[in-house]
């Protein structure tokens, strides 16, 4: 029966509500919700409190917020939600390096219970023993999965976690009187945050370019290390999906030079339970709990970049840390060597809760299944895509491709004029998310990077491959169809020049009202 069904959603059309901007909605006097008014007895006791505000600090003009009744507010935001293609709604294989996987509903249910959603972060530790136990135990799980000794969940995302590791490297050398170590080495195919955040932490950054097989240039590394080397911050597998089998050698070179090695495990999905940061010699690492550990991405957060370190770096972790004395869990601030704070309080703890529940639902075998199935899925998709005209695999000689692969539409562009930007807009017409191309700079031309995580079925992958095959064929036959895409999206093509034009860009409605005259012919 399955074979009789077309793999393509030919008749798909995205919701296209053409919703007004909320600032245009409603009428004067409408109310969306009423605030609990203070009781009469309170009013009698306190009198006119607003008159106590110094005159020049009183608000004279009410903020120009819209005035809308509740049903219309609900309808507006529901319509906006319908024009947003969450992972739950689509075969979200395209957003590689983002590890788009199913976020179990039961974990969402748990994360929204008042026993966590209504916790204040400064509550007495006696009153938060349950959540502290979850935090502590989950740190133990990650220690087992990575081989690191101690974790913090304070960073709110991957970039902030990498920044935290850069700060720890800085503190480590400072504590040893080696502050002259001011260089961090990263690779081009590591996440841009592996370059940006050490720079924020004050380091000079050296980037290793890929060699002809896609591996970070080993000779360049040997030339880069010196007495100024503070550390190396890299991913493996890199964003190309290529696992560097000689990673230990790289780590050893940096160690010999006196630097620390930080493992950005954003791409850990294919190696969970297979290999760990510790055996590769790393001193520290981080996992994205909103990616690899299934917590939802929330339109870009709240996430959690869980930072793990070896025992000799524990004392530098941000405060507070959660400790267990055998009976009770404690929130500990007294840590003189700590780098301080990277984020307020303990971090996005509901994300930790979801990740905890996810690991509890899998156990050791399940975790390994995640890695194995995601690698099978990736290699299966590779096989399917190898049959599509115009697609090339970056660095085809690099054999070990784990969680994802960076492909290139370069051949398609050469032969049809249709490039990756065009295909990216066209896939939307088949009900899947616009895909991730590559971080910048684009070393691989016309790139795209699908990551078919373990929660996609064989049928899902077949459908995704069929979409790309169909579009490729279309590019050869009627390239304009692809170039003018999308055709079945929420909107038509936007004028992107405006996004870089100071006279026309508008980050708020009030700015738009001031500038709309400069939108000339497109003015609305």
């Amino acid at each position: 029966m399955r074979n009789e069904r077309s793999l393509l959603k030919q008749n798909y059309h995205a919701a296209a509500w053409n919703e007004p901007i909320i600032m245009q909605m409603g009428r004067k006097g409408e109310r969306g919700i009423l605030v609990p008014e203070a009781e009469e007895e309170i009013k009698e006791v306190v009198g006119d409190v607003l008159s106590r505000i110094p005159t020049d600090l009183r608000r004279t003009e009410p903020p120009k917020l819209p005035e809308i009744s509740q049903p219309q507010v609900v309808r507006h935001f529901l319509r906006l939600s319908q024009m947003c293609l969450g992972t739950d709604l689509n075969i979200d294989i395209g957003q590689g390096t983002c590890t788009m996987k199913y976020s179990p509903k039961v974990n969402e249910y748990l994360a929204r219970l008042p026993d966590i959603s209504e916790l204040h972060p400064l509550q007495d530790e006696e009153t938060v023993q349950g959540i502290l136990e979850i935090i502590y135990k989950f740190a133990g799980f990650l220690s087992e999965i990575s081989g690191m000794d101690k974790f913090t969940f304070q960073p709110g995302g991957g970039a902030q976690a990498i920044y935290t590791n850069a700060c720890i490297i800085r503190a480590y050398h400072a504590a040893r009187g080696e502050s002259q170590r001011d260089e961090i080495i990263t690779t081009l195919f590591s996440h841009p945050a592996d370059a940006a955040t050490p720079a924020t932490a004050g380091f000079k950054v050296i980037t290793l370019m890929p060699d002809e097989n896609g591996y970070p240039d080993l000779e360049a590394l040997k030339a880069a290390v010196s007495k100024r080397t503070a550390g190396m911050m890299i991913t493996n597998p890199e964003d190309t999906g290529i696992y560097n089998p000689r990673v230990r050698e790289y780590v050893d070179i940096v160690h010999e030079a006196g630097g620390l090695c930080s493992y950005d495990q954003a791409n850990a999905n294919g190696i969970l339970g297979i290999c760990r940061a510790k055996e590769a010699g790393f001193d520290m690492c981080h996992f994205n709990l909103h990616k690899t550990f299934s917590s939802p991405h929330g339109c870009s957060g709240p996430g959690c970049g869980a930072v793990g370190v070896r025992d000799y770096l524990e004392k530098f972790l941000p405060v507070p840390v959660v400790e267990f004395d055998g009976e009770k869990y404690h929130i500990v601030y007294e840590r003189p060597f700590s780098i301080g704070k990277v984020r307020s309080f303990l971090g996005n703890i509901p994300v930790v809760l979801r990740a905890y529940a996810w690991v509890m639902s899998l156990g050791p075998d399940g975790i390994r299944d995640v890695a194995e199935v995601s690698v099978i899925n990736n290699n299966y998709l590779a096989k399917k895509l190898s049959q599509v005209s115009g697609i090339g695999m970056s660095y085809p000689k690099a054999k070990c491709r784990l969680d994802q692969i960076r492909y290139s539409w370069e051949q398609l562009r050469r032969e049809t004029g249709v490039g990756t930007e065009d295909v990216r807009r066209r896939v939307v017409d088949f009900g899947v998310q616009s895909y991730f191309e590559s971080h910048h700079p684009w070393v691989v031309p016309e790139p795209f990077t699908p990551e078919p995580t373990e929660t996609y079925s064989k049928d899902d992958i077949d459908e995704y491959a069929e979409i790309l095959r169909y579009i490729s064929q279309e590019a050869y036959v009627s390239p304009d169809t692809v170039k003018n895409a999308p055709h079945k999206s929420t909107i038509t093509r936007i004028d992107e020049r405006i996004l870089n034009d100071p006279k026309k860009w508008a980050m708020t409605w009030r700015a738009y009202l001031n500038k709309r005259h400069s939108w000339d012919s497109q003015g609305q």
Partner: protein, 466 residues
């Protein structure tokens, strides 16, 4: 492989079905999955089985297990809560929960305008409504939290002015100061400006003394960390400007229905925390910072965050959205970027947009008034207790206030332990943060506290202090 294989397919992993796996391996052209990992050297392999708990395979048992752990907590729903200090308990409208739970938003990430238009529009609406509150034309997409928004704002000021010192009030959340110290390293110096111990107000003489041609920015908050309204806001901005420095103001947006927007008293950059706008505290996971400024090219160029701009499309009457000057961010510029951005707290920006749309201008004013009435009532009934002084400062209070227990004969720590026995989370103990304020706590009262709740606090305090 020596380990025993679970026979049942895992509900989250469709291709864990043995037969499917075999079919796919066949298609790939390998006989065993281990061949796909052959590129990982043996010495890097993890040997054996991870020491993790046995899985709770049925959803029911998993749920029972986690619920059991969580039930050990004493939440602010179960106990009465007077903690604030950077994370505040406000009423979260059901509509906010409905929208932020929508799978469409909850499970989206970094998709483009053509597939995720609704996300862009909702966040543009967040930026637009926040812009109305603070009186600024540019507002960032959500940042990690107020602390990171504040540190980034001050670094923006340093780059804009080409100067390397910022003046920070003594009355600021010490956690924020901690964040700055780590974030600024040695590139920007922090000089702390004292306050008047009677009123809590920033000491203008000390400010005049410390400000110089090195000063990039003067930072202050309104209301301040300790809850009172900073009266000399315009004067502080004037002093900053007179020395060529920027005025950077931190705000609690729940006050902006009744307090003047910072743009009216000279702010150049505004930052703050959107968590109180329709986001649950989430044990601190509800935070959502923002940065705002005038719409000047020089300012926009220095934002480290994402900025969503509205844009026209090919069809008349249709709006699209996109990232403004995306090439400014760390995703393009790598180590040459201003600082960095990444996954932040965008879902909560959507909740805040829903919240502001529901409240509207009158609702925001009502909110401010209701909060002030209740906090002032609370101060009144608490200060009637022997040995308790509330508020400690003579300045006008918004929703938080310092309660001093010097004359009560008990430490804040013991008082709070006592209050817990009455199922009350007392105010934050600030005796170590501000030793000069003696035995003091920072209490927070919002629109959720009924008269009965506040009276219950007062009678519990009386009991505890007996």
């Amino acid at each position: 492989m020596a380990r025993t294989r679970r026979q049942v397919a895992h509900p989250y992993i469709p291709n864990s079905v043995a037969k499917t796996k075999e079919e796919m391996l066949d298609e790939i052209g390998v006989s065993d999955v281990s061949e796909l990992f052959s590129g990982i050297p043996n010495e890097l392999r993890f040997k054996g089985v991870l020491n993790l708990p046995k899985p709770l395979l049925s959803e029911y048992i998993l749920r029972r297990h986690v619920e059991g752990l969580l039930s050990k907590n004493k939440s602010c729903k179960e106990y009465l809560n007077f903690l604030g200090a950077g994370c505040w308990q406000h009423y979260v409208p059901a509509v906010c929960d409905e929208i932020s739970s929508r799978a469409e938003f909850l499970t989206a990430y970094v998709g483009d305008t053509y597939s995720d238009l609704g996300k862009y529009q909702a966040l543009f609406e967040f930026q637009s409504m926040m812009g109305e509150l603070v009186g600024m034309d540019v507002v960032s997409a959500p940042t990690y939290d107020w602390a990171s928004a504040c540190s980034s704002s001050l670094l923006m000021a340093a780059r804009i002015t080409g100067r390397s010192q910022v003046l920070i009030p003594r009355v600021v959340n010490p956690e924020k100061l901690w964040h700055m110290r780590n974030f600024f390293r040695s590139t920007v110096d922090i000089e702390v400006v004292e306050y008047d111990h009677e009123t809590g107000q920033l000491d203008l003489e000390d400010l005049e003394k410390k400000i110089s041609s090195k000063t990039a920015a003067v930072y202050f908050e309104n209301p301040s960390y300790l809850g009172f309204i900073e009266t000399h806001a315009a004067e502080i901005s004037r002093i900053a400007h007179a020395h060529g420095a920027l005025s950077v103001v931190g705000v609690d947006p729940t006050s902006l229905g009744i307090l003047a927007p910072p743009s009216e008293y000279g702010a150049d950059i505004v930052c703050g925390e959107a968590q109180p706008l329709g986001v649950h505290m989430n044990y601190g996971g509800g935070l959502c910072g923002f940065i705002a400024s005038r719409d000047e090219e020089q300012y926009v160029a220095e934002y480290p965050t994402f900025l969503i701009s509205i844009a026209p499309t090919r069809r008349a009457g249709e709006f699209g959205f996109g990232w403004c000057t995306h090439e400014r961010t760390s995703f393009y510029k790598r180590e040459r970027a201003t600082d960095f951005t990444g996954t932040t707290q965008c879902l909560w920006g959507i909740s805040a947009a829903v919240y502001l749309a529901l409240l509207g201008p009158q609702g925001l004013r009502d909110l401010g008034e209701s909060i002030m009435e209740r906090s002032h009532y609370a101060m009144k009934v608490i200060s009637e207790i022997d040995g308790v002084k509330a508020p400690m400062f003579s300045s006008v209070v918004f929703k938080e206030f310092v309660v001093n227990f010097d004359a009560a004969g008990k430490s804040v720590r013991d008082i709070n332990k006592g209050l817990l026995r009455h199922k009350i989370h007392g105010g934050k103990d600030i005796t170590r943060e501000f030793p000069e304020l003696g035995n003091s706590a920072l209490y927070c009262v919002t629109e959720i506290h009924t008269k009965e709740d506040i009276d219950r606090l007062a009678s519990a305090l009386k009991e505890v202090l007996k």
